[in-house]
Amino acid sequence: MAPLEPWERVWIDATAYKTDVHSLINCTDCHGGTALDDMDAAHVGMNPSPASDPQSCGVCHPDITPADAASLHTTLRGYDTVLYTRSTPENHAILEEMESNHCASCHTTCGDCHISQPASVGGGLLKGHTFVKTPPMSQTCTGCHGSRIKNEYFGLNEELPADAHFRTRMACSACHTADEVHGVGMTLNADHRYDGVQSPTCESCHQDKVGVGSGIEQHEVHGTEILSCQACHSIAYTNCSNCHVEKNENGLPFFKVEEHALGFYLGRNPLQNGERPYRFVPVRHVPIDLNSFSFYGENLLPNFNRLPTWVYSTPHNIQKITPQNQACENCHGNDDLFLTLDKVALAEREANKGVIVDKAPPLPEGYVKKADLTPTAESDGGGGDGFWGDGGSEASPTPATGDDFWGGSGSSEPTPTPTVSGDDFWGGGNSQPTPTPTEAGDFWGGN
């Protein structure tokens, strides 16, 4: 997104805002300050971000605010969980200081989804201060979930196609509903993003195509509890390692990820439970290591091995046909696809012992090899390596009309075609190389 001009960030669209029910409320009831003609005097005691106190919304939206206050967007407990579990209580204060430096813009208020763009994309009002019901995907969600999810979903990773749902123009909120993101009916004060019920479930939309009775051979043989849907339907995603946080000579916080690579690995399910019964799931390496926070102190993660560094993941790049589900034996007996010991760094083997796979499970006797599947035209995305077909240049829809889908009138969002070079490659591109919340999110690891 091109950043808004300073005046645009604070400009109220009189015509549009007049039709919004909230325009009946006095500015000062939400923002404080005093209604005066002199700007400086008017702004004394004024709060530009009233939604940071959700009670300003809660008087009228009492069905939403209490749950939202206990949702991960507000609590950010996911970060504490992965840090504190690996640490000891005497280090919490110093880790908290580090978090407040590096994760300040992760906090998500009602306003960050409904009224203004998050700070990570430069801030400013979304639509002239109207309260937008459906958060526009690229101005809000991917403003924060910027590198990993955006690149996967839009198909910005090298030579990889966009998510099948993106190609049918589904925005984030098509799957992640109001109730889910507000935390209504979800686990209160969840420890991490996969704590509690799955939301959404793939099954909720594909009921007739799932498991036994679907008529799809691979669904029939595996049912729904051996593999997660993503184990067969998602493709390579970014794995990072060696992240370090520091401050520069001016005291400004930054991070550095030295190594990253696209890859796809099935590991043993580190979160196996009734909600997520799968034996095998895609696992992603999160960029944490023993020395990630050494800038802030010695040995801050003495219990490093308590959590795996290869974590449960649900990549947002769903395809019908994938390299691993194209034929039974692309998966069965294919050690390259599984997180075997040799793929795990020596220092991290202990932490990942619950995830590492001895060897790929062989195809059970008695199955006749069928003809291989080939990716369909629609799922044929990028160019390049044989699988996705050479030169299939453009799989992604071009940004067009739908405001909700692209967010705002801004045609400034680049067309999400797979890009290979330079800045664009890792997303964010041009002028905002700062840790956006997702980057921080990725950094701390999902669980």
């Binding site: 009189a14 500015c27 209604a35 008017a42 009228c60 939206h61 939403i64 909720s204 991070f255």
Partner: protein, 95 residues
Amino acid sequence: MVYRALSKLVLFAGLLLVGGGLLISCAPDTSAPALTPRPRATSTTAGATPTAQKVLATLRAFVDQSCLDCHTNKDQLVKLAVGPVVEKAESEGPG
């Protein structure tokens, strides 16, 4: 007499109801199987809550005209608004 007959009838009707109730509750359930209580990709909280309506009804009249006038006046904002001077440090890598 009439009264006793009536009360018998009532008793009978009562028994019938109870029996019928039992019968129904013993009959095989032919309704659709219970759905797994999983969250669906649909929303349940509807737009305007009664609370919101009530609070709206008690709102005082809009008097903050000077705030609105300034913030809807583009020319004035161009003069007054200054960009946020947020300094940012360069980070490297996909995070």
